[in-house]
């Protein structure tokens, strides 16, 4: 069974575990905007990664978290791992 992790899934994880910055609407075209520019710091990204690991059972090593600079990068990483 192959599941696909979508940007909407990512949006829901972001808002759910790290809150929504005042300045953005998560429904906007945010895929390629960096987490920093969106208002999410490194702790927020760590929290998102932890929730993804638990919800999808995908292991995300420390280095990979460092590489997840945008929501789309996170989505792509997760889908690559799901396809493995």
């Amino acid at each position: 069974m192959t599941t696909t992790f979508t940007l909407d899934d990512m949006r829901s994880i972001m808002g759910g575990c790290a809150g929504v910055p005042d300045t953005i609407d998560l429904g906007d075209d945010i895929g390629e905007v960096s987490f920093v520019d969106l208002g999410y710091d490194s702790l927020a990204v760590l929290e998102m990664a932890a929730r993804i690991q638990q919800q999808l059972g995908v292991r995300i090593p420390d280095d990979a978290v460092d590489e997840m600079k945008t929501p789309q990068a996170a989505v792509d990483y997760v889908n690559r791992r799901l396809a493995d």
């Binding site: 710091d41 490194s42 702790l43 760590l46 929290e47 932890a50 420390d62």
Partner: protein
């Protein structure tokens, strides 16, 4: 190896100091000296064991034994081999007190005995208590939670299993209460909880109480016993602690290129602070004088640090101004040196910014390389180490420092303790919440640098 017997018989200065050091001679008002000390640290109980460990450069970090850490990211810690009964606590005291309070009371008793203060000296209403702790009685809170929630099963925890001391665990001020009782203090008592700078801030608070005349002596220090699952897990979550589980003895690597996080520790140090004139009148032995204390906040991030060390540098400058000392006067810097990538870079920059070229000459070391990072307690333990450095004219080393980091390019006293004249010491701390604190100790002017006889 104990280096105290081999120190030089005469003081020698390695560099010229223009004029006499003005600080202690011109400052007005009440002055504050350290006249007693008690330490419970990983690697040994008591001041002597503590200093032996530091001067030998031994590390006390190991696999966690206080609970089963299987499944945790970081499974190492610097633990105290602490048996409360063997340390003289009664069965009721042991039942009533969380481990942090136990460490505190044992160290307070050692410090009071060391100071030579008699009963009712000073009178109880003139004796204060200022204790730092970052996480208070978490260990007790967690142990009781596990029972009340039946292993985390029930949000609506079962009141039938509540122990009488449960509220005492929830309010960390209980630790200050226990220490006030141990010392018979009836003056101002406070628990200071500025996270990982609490141990410096609590001594700073006590220093101010004596200086302003609210107390004549203060039992000041800090204690933390955070090696319990919830605290280990919360640092796991932010990857702040070292995952070097295969090599615990070498896991705490401040300023080393291969450092990968701090190693959680536990412990306590308590100092007796006294108004200097009164201390001298009663013939007290003086370890050192506290000559400066200042704190600043970075207002930047709860855990993140900017690389420039700007606010820590400002705290150092403020403490130096207060002490009327110049960068050239500083003989040793006891660094926060937690061993996280960002911290060690941050404070290296702060030292350079505050002390200029002197930063490259003055020895800097982190005793967290040996006894780990005991959160709120470590600041007081480090001040104790600084006072001992002055007393013995020995700078403790940074253990495990083998590979230089180009971003950390100061003299960190790798591996081996160094004998040298130590008259003025700077100790700094940095903590979650953005707190940055600096404290300056100086050899008391009546002390000629000969070996004292505390704890000898």
């Amino acid at each position: 190896m104990n280096l105290t017997g081999t120190r030089p018989t005469a003081r020698r200065r390695t560099r010229a100091r223009p004029g006499a050091r003005p600080a202690p001679r011109t400052r007005r008002g009440r002055r504050v000296v350290i006249t007693g000390m008690g330490v419970t640290a990983p690697g040994g109980i008591g001041v002597k064991a503590f200093w032996d460990l530091l001067t030998a450069g031994r590390t006390a970090t190991r696999a966690i034994s206080l609970f089963d850490a299987t499944g945790f990211r970081s499974r190492i810690a610097a633990e105290c081999d602490f048996d409360p009964a063997a340390q003289g606590l009664s069965p009721q005291e042991i039942r009533r007190m969380d481990r942090a309070a136990q460490l505190g009371v044992v160290s307070a008793r050692e410090a009071l005995a060391d100071s030579g203060l008699g009963a009712a000296e000073p009178p109880p209403e003139r004796l204060g208590v200022t204790i730092g702790s970052a996480v208070g009685c978490t260990m007790g809170l967690e142990e009781e939670y596990v029972v009340l929630s039946d292993g985390g099963r029930n949000w609506l925890v079962d009141p039938a299993y509540g122990v009488p001391q449960l509220y005492g665990y929830m309010v960390p001020s209980t630790i200050a209460t226990e220490i006030a009782w141990a010392g018979g203090a009836e003056g101002p008592v406070a628990l200071i909880s500025t996270g990982c700078t609490a141990g410096l801030d609590s001594i700073g608070h006590g220093y101010q109480l004596v200086k302003e005349g609210s107390a004549d002596a203060v039992v000041a220090g800090a204690t933390d016993a955070p090696i319990s699952p919830i605290t280990v897990a919360c640092f796991d979550a932010i990857k702040a602690t070292s995952p070097s589980n295969d090599d615990p003895e070498h896991a705490s690597r401040p300023f080393d290129l291969d450092r990968n996080g701090f190693v959680l520790g536990e412990g306590c140090a308590i100092l007796i602070l006294e108004e200097r004139e009164a201390a001298l009148r009663r013939g007290a032995r003086v370890y050192a004088e506290i000559v400066g204390f200042a704190s600043r906040s970075n207002a930047y991030h709860m855990t993140g640090l900017k690389p420039d060390g700007r606010e820590m540098a400002e705290a150092i400058r403020a403490a130096m101004r207060q002490a009327k000392l110049r960068p050239d006067d500083v003989d040793y810097i006891n660094a926060h040196g937690s061993g996280t990538r960002q911290n060690d870079r941050h404070e290296t920059a702060a030292f350079k910014s505050a002390l200029g070229d002197r930063a490259y000459e003055v020895p800097v070391s982190s005793i967290k390389s040996m006894i780990g990072h005991s959160l709120g307690a470590i600041g007081s333990i480090e001040v104790a180490a600084c006072a001992l450095a002055i007393k013995h004219n020995v700078v403790p080393p940074t253990a495990n420092l083998h590979t230089a980091d180009p971003e950390c390019d100061l003299d960190y006293v790798p591996l081996t303790a160094r004998e040298q004249p130590v008259d003025v010491v700077l100790s700094v701390g940095s903590g979650f919440g953005g707190f940055q604190t600096a404290m300056l100790l100086a050899r008391d002017q009546g002390d000629t640098g000969r070996r004292g006889d505390h704890h000898d």
